[in-house]
């Protein structure tokens, strides 16, 4: 993979140095008592290296053990960094990645060649820019798409296994999405974690980041960690240690979907009443600490809800993957009207907003239903689990289905007949759903049904990075030396709405990119 160098504002580094030097002179002048009351970015949430005793030293310190952190650790070792450590806040490894859907979009893959699908970096980026609604970061999207296929290969080399078919997810113009055979991100995180250990990467759980350590030039030279941390009680029962990152610190800590205070401050609709697909550790402390260092906050209010989630189970559960697979050949029905209300494979935001408008007369949520031919639904491995754990149901005829969910029968029957006509004609006159790939897949009895209600899923916002995964200082536009970030903790890449299956390639590619930048900085 070639790390792109364009867009790296080298000329601004001098400005940065000048700014921080003058700031230091100023601080010296007011003395220690004055400093204690200061709220400057150098002192809040960061410790000074000159007064720090290091408990441990590594070439590269990585915070977070999801896709980005694991990929970075592997690449860093492969590039010759001798000591690499991953610190994980939670008691178990994998972060939110270990419970995600395991969907990986990439253009120009072996499966696309096998299926004769014409795709390209340009085409994938164009799809993402459309969903980004004008505020996505094209150079970063292009860098990620260009390197996605090789990142996929890194997973395969580590032992990840993928279904032998591609899926076409909402907002994608062609099928380009791989999925692990276990239909979960754990099909990637577990092999990558094994690979890390095989390569001698140090892995520590229950290690909570508390602050960065900077040297007198403002370079991030390490972190302070709490050990034996219990997230559920929010206590650390071990000692606090200072860990030096000789060549850099990579923050790969994910999003803040589980930080209700922070997310609802950005988007007041995302209160505690809205549940989330995310692991409980997705609370964003390290991101906030990067802002205190001066990192640029980008798009924090763009928080995505997953339109494929079910109100009948917690988190991502089984229904999410089931729905993602089945949306193309299914109808989503408003239970009051018996009518469709959206293009079932529009981008996530379009669908989540449309679902949230399903309300009863009193304005309370009235979750819509997704109706699929059982013969089509059962093709996905999650279908059995959905039925077994009673988060989805099979019906022999439309009468029993309508009665169960309180849907008016005749409008529903008319809607399904109309939709089946669209399938035969190859054109969705109601909502413009692309019909090419679902030829012949009319909706017939017996039916399978799940209920839909969006869950907070992904934070498009975070810290701004450049094409080297360096974190950018808002005051100067230059990279904050020694500090790298990758994955969901970064912001602005996808714009308003991230397309499904585009997070794993982003995490993997930017984690790999960060490792290359760190390795490249070793002199």
């Amino acid at each position: 993979m070639q790390t792109r160098k364009e867009g790296h504002p080298c000329f601004l580094i001098m400005v940065n140095k000048t700014a921080s030097s003058s700031r230091r002179s100023f601080l010296k002048g007011i003395g220690a008592a004055g400093i204690a009351g200061m709220t400057g970015p150098m002192l809040v949430g960061a410790a000074q290296a000159s007064t720090t005793e290091w408990n441990e030293t590594f070439d590269l310190v990585i915070i977070g053990s999801g896709f980005a952190g694991l990929a970075a650790a592997i690449q860093a070792r492969q590039l010759g960094l001798e000591s690499v450590a991953i610190f994980e806040k939670m008691p178990y490894y994998g972060g939110n990645s270990a419970i995600n859907g395991g969907l990986f979009a990439a253009p120009g893959t072996p499966l696309q060649a096998q299926e004769g699908i014409a795709d390209s970096v340009d085409r994938m980026v164009a799809d993402q820019l459309a969903a980004g609604r004008g505020i996505a970061h094209e150079p970063l999207l292009r860098h990620i798409a260009a390197n996605a296929a090789s990142a996929l290969q890194l997973c395969i080399d580590a032992g990840s296994e993928f279904h032998p078919y591609l899926q076409q997810l909402g907002g994608h113009s062609v099928p380009r999405t791989y999925q692990t055979t276990v239909s979960c991100g754990a099909g990637i995180t577990r092999p990558l974690l094994d690979k890390c250990r095989e390569l001698g990467v140090t892995t520590r759980n229950r290690s909570k980041f508390s602050k960065f350590v900077q040297d007198e030039d403002g370079r991030v030279v390490g972190v302070q960690m709490q050990t034996r941390y219990y997230y559920d009680r929010e206590v650390s029962e071990g000692e606090t240690i200072n860990v030096r990152g000789r060549y850099g610190v990579l923050v790969a800590t994910g999003g803040y979907s589980q930080n209700i205070e922070l997310r609802s401050a950005q988007d007041p609709t995302l209160t505690a009443e809205v549940t989330s697909t995310n692991a409980p550790g997705a609370t964003g402390e390290a991101m906030l600490a990067m802002f205190r260092l001066g990192a640029i906050p980008v798009h924090l209010a763009h928080i995505q809800s997953g339109p494929w989630a079910s109100p009948d189970e917690g988190g991502f559960g089984y229904v999410s993957n089931y729905s993602i697979y089945n949306f193309p050949h299914s109808v989503a029905i408003n239970r009051t009207t018996g009518q469709r209300f959206m293009n079932e494979i529009a981008d996530r935001k379009t669908r989540a907003d449309a679902e949230l408008a399903n309300r009863d007369a009193e304005g309370k949520p009235n979750p819509p239903i997704l109706i699929t031919s059982y013969d089509h639904a059962k093709e996905h491995p999650s279908a059995k689990k959905v039925l077994k754990y009673k988060v989805g149901w099979k019906f022999d005829n439309l009468e029993s289905l309508a009665a169960e969910f309180g849907v008016p029968l005749e409008p529903l029957r008319a809607q399904i007949d109309e939709y089946n006509g669209f399938v035969r004609e190859g054109e969705d006159a109601q909502f413009g759903k692309p019909m090419e790939k679902i030829a012949g897949k009319t909706i017939e009895a017996p039916f399978m049904v799940v209920r839909l209600w969006p869950k907070v899923h992904y934070c498009q916002g975070g810290v701004a990075i450049n094409l080297k995964s360096e974190v950018i200082d808002a005051a100067t536009g230059a990279a904050i030396p020694g500090l790298y970030a990758a994955g969901e903790v970064t912001g602005g890449i996808h714009g308003v709405s991230r397309l499904g299956s585009c997070s794993i390639p982003e995490c993997m590619v930017m984690g790999i990119t960060a490792a290359r930048s760190v390795a490249g900085s070793v002199t």
């Binding site: 178990y92 270990a98 754990a186 034996r228 029962e237 189970e313 917690g314 559960g317």
Partner: protein, 141 residues
């Protein structure tokens, strides 16, 4: 803790572990009971097969210190209980469900520390319940 105490605690643990080994697969028989006053552990809640530890006031067997103020180390339970035995005891019969083994799960394999799903002095829900409606009828606490 003195080394000799530690050794005695370990020996007790091993004995109980052997007993627990015989009972593997029969976790539904374990009960939470309130115990009579023992030195430093009055009224403390715990598993019946740990009863002798409570009777002897052996907090250090798990906590490594005589007067604990926090949780035991993550590996503590596994000083006596065998991971392979636990995995075997909860292995689903159906091959399709093999990753729903709470001791060897799809998401984390065998790496979830015991205390994430089990509380000795407090009731806990299995971690799986965060996202799944699995039924583990033998999981009590």
């Amino acid at each position: 803790m003195k080394k000799s105490n530690r050794l005695r605690a370990t020996a007790t643990c091993l004995m109980l572990g052997a007993l627990a080994g015989l009972l593997i697969g029969s976790f539904s028989f374990a009960e939470i009971r309130e115990y009579d006053a023992t030195e430093g552990s009055e009224g403390i809640q715990g598993r019946d097969y740990h009863q002798r530890l409570y009777q002897r006031g052996r907090c250090e067997a798990c906590h490594a210190v005589a007067e604990p103020t926090g949780y035991p180390a993550d590996g503590s339970c596994l000083d006596c209980h065998r991971m392979n035995g636990l995995v075997a005891a909860t292995a689903p019969e159906d091959e399709e469900e093999k990753w729903q083994n709470p001791h060897d799960s799809l998401h984390y394999g065998r790496e979830v520390p015991c205390v994430e799903c089990h509380g000795e002095h407090t009731n806990k829900e299995p971690l799986c319940a965060d996202c799944h409606n699995f039924e583990y009828p033998n999981h009590q606490y």
